[in-house]
Symmetry: C5
Subunit: 361 residues, 5 copies
């Protein structure tokens, strides 16, 4: 994480100060601009080059959605920023891919930062990607680090001519995209929840040190998700207040619905965190019980063998006169006493349930 | 939980976008609509079909309560929604059965989401069901996942012609239903409280690993209840402010009373949680004490047998000249020394209270 | 607790719905009404029957204080409620003896709920009783579950003609009663504090499992007290704002003083809770130290006897040629070696302070 | 503490109700009144008797500072209270020496309660004393339980004719006194901080049970300091708002500066508390490590002696035919095997670093 | 720390009271004043002596940045303070080098306190230095304890004629300096984060007591950073409100951006703290597991040797008639039995994975 942040801090200065900086490494995916213009009647979808975006004019009475992949192609970004008169700080924020969710309002547009999460069930970790949006009166710009497919359902619905989406303005499109992100968040949450439940089952059955690390990792994931969603709540709250009128009154209830989802999300996350704390306690307890069982095993062994060893020692003494010593069955009597004591011990242990290796305390 | 949520997220899109979705599984109970119309003089109670609800007209000067079981029959719900002009998001929320309590106000009606809890004393877990209400000026709609019987007391009081309820408006009916839900919450709380007390008694007596899991489960239940009741407080608070005038001034004190009950509820829940944390500590301590006792048992055994074994070893040495070795009672002197040491040890242990298996430390 | 709550929930319905319910069990104390009317010149104190209260008229220019014992005599309560036009919900609250402190304002009177605490030093537990007050412009009603004697000091001061109390209005009387309750709270706090200090001394000296339970109990008590006093702060805060003018400006500083006392109270309670947490830590630590000591005892025993046993074993071997074996003093040399090793060990242990049974680590 | 509080609660009633109460014990220091009147040109400093204070008139254009030692001389206090028309509750608060910091505003004066702390480095505990101030338009009253010397620096600066202090009004004097109290707080904080650092060094070196008690005591001290300083912040905040105009605009920045110091103070305290929690963890860990070391010592002993004992036992068997048994060097071969095994064991332990008594795990 | 604080408390009195105090020790670096005056066209950079600063006049239409190193040269500071009419409390705050971040507004200038951090990766500790700023309408004063180089990048950009910086006013310069401080904060954060990750890797691999101390130290560092950045958020918040108009509307978005960075910073810090708590848990667990392993080793040894020792003891008994005793291979049979039991035991241990020294539980 550190490398990255340092890097983007350098970028930050660029937007405002016009220093020349070479693009770090070759951009992971070749950058590209994709445009969708639509209204209730028609929909045009096409790729744009850097030249085209510079002179592009929005067709009247259409909603224009321009999506930019590969935010690290700075020249491209600057062309887009110039065309839509974005503030240098907005450009900074787009380049700076470790931002928290936020909302900045400018007279001509709202600028939103959000994050998209990928959950890796193998390593129980999340990676994330920044998605920036600029919502104008008639156009919506979206910026992604790389093609993620998370907006595909919305594109599909647009192509199929889904009524509400095609008839509504650019504000409803913005809502639909945020909603599809939220959908992804809940999918990650479900995955975590399932892993936590699987972990709980495993812990109660057969705790292993790996479980400890998994608890630790899931906690880490839940911290990161909370850090991402918490500021999103504030962002949605600001959008609902709608002070700059970028949203039509018809769209506001949908935003409120989205806000309710973030609240639900954070509460579910808290519940998962509580569960993980509980699992930690159970793990610690299982360790204590294990020490218990080991000590008990030692005690059982000592109690079984020490008396017999003493008896053997006693009859090994070299006194000239000792009972049974010349008796034909003396040896067997001694063995019998040893066995009797050992069996009596075993009976006591059995009644106290000390012989089971399950932790029945 | 994950399956469910995913499912309802799909439903969510339906209300707004009119996609065709088949009802998931066959609805658990056949959906049905039940209507109660009453005023101080008369009460009409009947089942309605989907056709009837479409053209149903509320009789003048009556309170109309329409209850819908089986929210997963989408066609039925859409008919009801159309008849009462419910917003598509309201329909979404009714279908989405994992919502937190909330209040949405629309010009023609208030929409409330609440939850009903079932406590399973066997597995120490709660399951819950969503109950949605839409409160108009002259009608009240309630939606349940399946018949739960939780509204039966209110229906009974209506049928018996209970004065205050029959004379008051639809707002008082809404209060009465919320109050009957609250009654259920307190019953669940009492059940948990009793189980926690039983657990405490068991722990202090004879702690077992099962107790740990039960503490864990009860904590889980208390987390879920808190998550349900916390937003309900906000809902009631909004209702008391009564900004849209759906409640008459006579009913508002009753709402305030209900609010006090939710505060009482959450505080009792906090006290239960504190108790459960205390039980966790006691359990952990009991584990430590058990290790203690095992180690002590080992020490007692070692201290009893090691000296005797040494003495036996000493008289087992093969020196040609050894004291007592040719003495007639030499063997018995040796045994006597062993016994004396053992008895002395036992006396010491007894005075230090090391022999009891109770943890008197 | 659960039984009780369920019970009072039934009562709750009664006040509002006029169902007939028999009084649960026979009221613990026979209910009675006691009246004190006074001004600076005279004071009349007498018992009232149910009939008398119905037609009772407050003498002009007097402060009237009517105290009702035994709130479970419903007929009596209803008579009082009717005479003073109390709202049905107020009657509910009086009957519902598990309420938290609260303030409801009605046009003609303020209604206060408070709790009185009894601390049982034997079982380290508190029981509590509800005290309801209705403060009118010229009268004060107080309702207690049973005679508690907590108002006796105020009555005494009234009888002795204490100046400020007799000259002031009913609002100052209300303050004086609240103040006498607060006095009781501080007495309970002092008792807990003393018990906590005694516990601390005992723990540091000689920890026992009983101490653990006592810590647990005192924590429980402090939770209950906090639950009682926390809402009382809000109540006093509302009284100080004095929005309905039931208090004269001269009395408000006294209320503010009372408020300061509740703040002081809760802070002292927090300090006690912090102390109890610290005691818990000390107890846990003492347990670990005890395990330590037991293991050390075992180690000491093993280290003392194992070398000697080995030596005995060595000289017990049956080789035909062994050193010292035919020596006259061979046996004693062997014994001497054993003793030397044991004494050397003891010296080492003594220098490491392993022989003390005090935990000096 | 409890005795004290009970006591002062009795006093409380006195101010308001004029009961006769004998002064508890003989006042620790004989009470005395000291007066300082000054302006930029002259300064008069003298003792006053009770008679003099009754008829004392403030000289015009002077700042008058009247300091009262020994607040338990009730007659004296009442004389002062009468002269300056203090409210009975103010008198109560002065007598009630267990108050938290607070600010009460009366039309003629502001009344402040603060605390002075003494830190006893021997017992790691703080004792405290109450200092009450009444700030009028032209006079300042201060009340102390006994002479503490904490105001001496201010007196010294007055006598030396320090410019700003002598030229400013009574409000700046009040600030200067509060500032000198704050100075004392920081001295106590420094002392605690140093003790915590000394404790930390000791713990990391050589943990002992005494350290545990010292951590506990320092925590206690930090709790008490926080309880004292937290309300002081509110008091200063109120003073800064300066709603009653007792402070000149020139003095307000100084109060704000003082407020910043209290914030700094509480944050430093929090850091100390965090450190103490960390020390607690380290102590607990050191205990676990010690158990570890003891068990390891036991294991080492067992592993060294058990094989040798077995070998001795084997050659102690009484079979008629045994190898080496008649060999001249058989005994030495056996001893050699024992030594070889023991040395091999020691080598293994040494490589695993099990022989060190330092906890290198 | 304590020495320092005490010291600066003395200084505090100086500013307000003009006492003569000798500068404590010789100021670490000789104090010096450095001036930069610039506008879009030209830039003058020079050292100033104390005399020069006294009579210095800002050239018109230039931004003047005056940086003072070595704040402990009091005469110099007083000269600067006099020239720019700084309030005595401002001078106090500059001298008092243990302040928290804060903002004081005076009519002619804003006064800011911030801190600069140095992270020592060797000792895992931070040291810090105070940086004070006074922002006038046309000049900016900065005060540092010693030359730190943290402002060098800004100076470099000024010299290189970086457009935005040279064209903007003194408010943007102030922002640029704060931003360069923030840059330093993030560098420290990254260093801590890397150290925490290295620690985590080490802990999971091979926990050692040193790790515990390192966790403790990093926690300490994170507490100090939070204490520094938390008040900075409030400061920036106040700057954004811009009540006194020291910032142009063009600069405010940059401040908001800076504010977002502090929020991001504190959240990252919280995540680090959560991670450190998790590491603490893992360390404690590793300790428990180690006890486990030691006890297991002991149990294994006891179980291997005790049966064999018993058998040797049995055949060492002195009965005249014992089986095998005269058998030629009797001895070998006995040895065989011993080995068989030992090998059987080892097989059991191997299947239970008790022989591995890794903690596989």
């Amino acid at each position: 994480m550190s490398k990255r942040k340092h890097m983007h801090r350098k970028h930050r200065l660029l937007g405002t100060d016009n220093k020349v900086i070479t693009s770090p490494a070759s951009a992971e995916a070749t950058a590209c601009i994709h445009k969708m213009c639509y209204n209730a009647e028609e929909l045009v979808s096409q790729q744009l080059t850097m030249q085209e975006i510079t002179h592009w004019q929005a067709p009247p009475a259409h909603v224009a959605w321009i999506n930019v992949h590969g935010v690290l192609d700075i020249a491209l970004l600057q062309a887009v920023a110039k065309r839509f008169s974005l503030h240098p700080l907005v450009l900074d924020d787009i380049l700076n891919t470790e931002q928290r969710a936020k909302l900045d309002s400018y007279p001509e547009y709202l600028f939103l930062e959000t994050r998209l999460f990928y959950y890796d069930a193998e390593s129980l970790s999340v990676s994330s990607e920044q998605i920036s949006m600029a919502l104008g009166r008639e156009w919506l710009l979206t910026f992604q680090e790389r093609p993620s497919g998370s907006f595909e359902p919305v594109r599909e619905r647009l192509r199929q001519g889904q009524a509400l989406l095609r008839k509504s303005g650019v504000d409803y499109l913005c809502y639909a995209l945020l909603d599809s992100l939220m959908e992804r968040y809940f999918q990650v949450l479900e995955a975590i929840n399932e892993d936590a439940e699987r972990l709980e089952a495993h812990l109660l059955d057969n705790p292993s040190p790996e479980d400890l690390q998994n608890i630790h990792r899931l906690k880490h994931v839940s911290i990161e998700l909370r850090r991402a969603v918490w500021p999103l709540r504030e962002v949605l709250n600001s959008l609902i207040r709608n002070e700059h009128g970028f949203f039509s009154p018809q769209t506001v209830p949908y935003l409120r619905d989205l806000y309710d989802h973030t609240v639900h999300f954070t509460e579910s996350l808290e519940a998962i965190r509580d569960t993980l704390s509980g699992l930690m306690d159970i793990y610690m307890t299982s360790l204590s019980q294990r020490v218990n069982l080991e000590v008990r095993a030692l005690t059982v062994v000592a109690m079984l063998f020490m008396p017999a060893t003493l008896i053997a020692g006693i009859f090994g003494m070299n006194f000239s006169k000792m009972p049974w010593i010349d008796d034909t069955y003396g040896f067997w009597w001694a063995i019998l006493i040893m066995l009797t004591i050992a069996i009596a011990m075993l009976l006591v242990f059995w009644r106290r349930q000390w012989l089971s290796s399950r932790h029945q305390q």
